[in-house]
Amino acid sequence: MRLLDFFRRPPPSAQVAKERLRIIVAQERSARGGPDYLPLLRRELLEVIRKYVNVDPEAVHIHFDHAEGHEMLELSVALPDK
């Protein structure tokens, strides 16, 4: 068994964990300090968009920024390939 293990390396699941965390942490950080309605806004936007195109929840990105006295809401939707 040990000899077999030696040749059959397990998949680097730690790498997968790191990638997933990098994305979710960045997303949660960008919502932080923003208005409380962001998650609801995101949900409702997704519903409206889905009336026209079938997009994944992952495809809707909301980014909130406050810089020099003004606040900005950035919204991007990645449309599926035809």
């Binding site: 730690a14 942490v25 932080r32």
Partner: protein
């Protein structure tokens, strides 16, 4: 000037109480006057890990509600004379802990000449966790190299940056430190566990300690002797290094590399 340090994590069971007990002992061993407070109202545990459970007469909530003096409630450690424990109450009434009450206790400890006040936070992001961090000058964020623990600790970082006295007063914010625990260099080497570098990169924090996974922690809690006091254990050395870093020493990380076995012992599973 007393420094208030919160030991927090978001996720439960990651090693906050183990860490609070060992860091408190470590600081006391380095000659500091230390008080360690259990904020886990309803689920008293620090007393067991510290080995003083049978000496608890009054607790944190008794002090806040004026049922005893702070001096009566502080339990002096039998091993280290500059170390005191304030036990959590076992009341189920979480409202017993008030911001004003907590502030009074912390102020009184500071006035009494304590160098460090450690606050062992309960899990979660509710009231107890909030009060444990609110007055802190520094935070030790305890993390396991595992997705849910890392994500929860990032939420805690968000709270430290907004829902604390230092954040509200705008005087520099809380100083944050990452303490990675239950670390297994072997599993990191095989790619099954995220490395110190991975977690550090995601959270963007300075690393105050990396504590290996070890059965010595269970042995220590069975005995009621904080693991840092077992000088035979590498866990003790890892915690001692963390204490040194907290005190400003520059100490390289240890115990993060796999101890390589020889070819034959690997082949035959020795």
């Amino acid at each position: 000037m007393a420094e208030i340090i919160v030991v927090t994590s978001g996720k439960g069971g990651v090693g906050k109480t183990t860490t609070s007990a060992s860091i408190a002992c470590g600081l006391a061993r380095r000659g500091k006057r230390v008080a360690v407070i259990d904020f886990d109202i309803g689920l008293r545990n620090l007393d067991l890990i510290m080995g003083c459970e049978r000496r608890v007469v009054y607790d944190f909530v008794n002090v806040i509600q004026g049922e005893c003096t702070l001096k009566q409630a502080l339990i002096r450690d039998k091993r280290l004379e500059s170390l005191y424990v304030l036990a959590a109450s076992q009341t189920r009434d979480k409202e017993a802990l008030t911001p004003e009450g907590v502030r009074r206790v912390l102020d009184e400890l500071a006035a009494d000449g304590f160098d460090f006040i450690l606050c062992d936070s309960p899990a979660g992001i509710e009231k107890g966790a909030h009060l444990a961090m609110y007055f802190a000058d520094r935070a030790i964020v305890v993390v396991n190299p595992e997705v849910s623990s890392v994500r929860d600790s990032d939420r805690i970082l968000g709270l430290l940056a907004s829902k604390t006295r230092r954040a509200e007063n705008g005087n520099g914010g809380v100083r944050e430190h990452l303490l990675l625990t239950r670390y297994s260099p072997r599993r990191v080497a095989t790619g099954e566990m995220m490395s110190v570098a991975d977690v550090k990169e995601i959270l963007g924090l300075d690393v105050v300690g990396v504590i290996p996974e070890s059965t010595d922690v269970l042995t220590a809690s069975n005995a009621g002797t904080p693991v840092i006091l077992n000088d035979e254990s590498i866990v003790s050395h890892a915690y001692q290094d963390a204490v040194a870093r907290l005190l400003g020493d520059t100490v390289p990380l240890r115990f993060i590399e796999e101890v390589r076995k020889g070819f034959f012992s690997r082949l035959f599973g020795g």
